[in-house]
Amino acid sequence: MIHACTYPNNEILTAFGLFASLYTAMGVAHAMQGPPRKWRSRIVLLTLTLAFTAASHVAAFLLALLLSIGLMAYLAVGRRAYIAPS
């Protein structure tokens, strides 16, 4: 990891982007138990982390998206309809 941090490459951006995306998704799911006014800033943050991941690696973005949806569906009890409105 130290070696990957010492020169410009997309792998380290992907690693941190993936980590940030999944933990921010968990944060959004937890925030969904609270009032909707607290959701917006976290969703913006999730958008940014997913965008960084997508810009660095396509496969990582798809994985981040699928895993985020899975984790949010698991955590956002009673608010699952908001994750992917039909």
Binding site: M1, I2, H3, A4, T6, E11, I12, T14, A15, F16, L18, F19, L22, M26, V28, I43, V44, L46, T47, L48, L50, A51, A54, A55, H57, V58, A59, A60, F61, L62, L63, L65, L67, L71, I83, A84, P85
Partner: protein
């Protein structure tokens, strides 16, 4: 849903709002993945990572012995780290084992934090201190210094 749309808009912006360049994001085949034991085997057998093996080896056992986590869940980072250790990107060359490291470190830190609250705190601190010193020494040895 909003985050996904926003993400695609930001990626579209990163391609300078060029539809042709943006469509390459979907056409390139870079998103293809598969699973294999090879990356995990290669990573586990490398010398710079050897100091982490005792720590990583006993932490799943520690997780089973002390499943209650105080600060954050330890099972999710372990599952995600395992997932990325067996991942192979067939579309383009990549290093999914590096993606797994933040999750692995989170898992180790979580179990470590939980064990610091038990009566074995001092022994655990000494053991982890030795492993950290060994890891730092091995990692510094393989860094390119020139």
């Amino acid at each position: 849903m909003a985050a996904t749309i926003g993400t695609l808009l930001l990626v579209f912006a990163s391609y300078d709002f060029s539809p042709d360049a943006f469509s390459y994001f979907f056409r390139s085949g870079a998103g293809r993945i598969a699973f294999s034991l090879e990356p995990a085997r290669h990573w586990l057998l490398s010398l710079p990572n050897s100091a982490r093996h005792p720590g990583r080896g006993h932490r799943p056992i520690a997780l089973l012995a002390n499943p209650r986590s105080r600060y954050f869940g330890n099972t999710v980072p372990l599952c995600l780290a395992l997932l990325f250790f067996f991942l192979v990107t067939t579309g383009i060359s990549s290093e999914p084992t590096l993606w797994a490291l933040p999750f692995l470190l989170t898992f180790i830190a979580g179990v470590f934090a939980d064990f610091l609250e038990t009566r074995y705190r001092r022994v655990f601190l000494a053991l982890t201190g030795c492993l950290l010193a060994l890891q730092v020494t091995l990692s510094l040895r393989v860094l390119p210094w020139n």
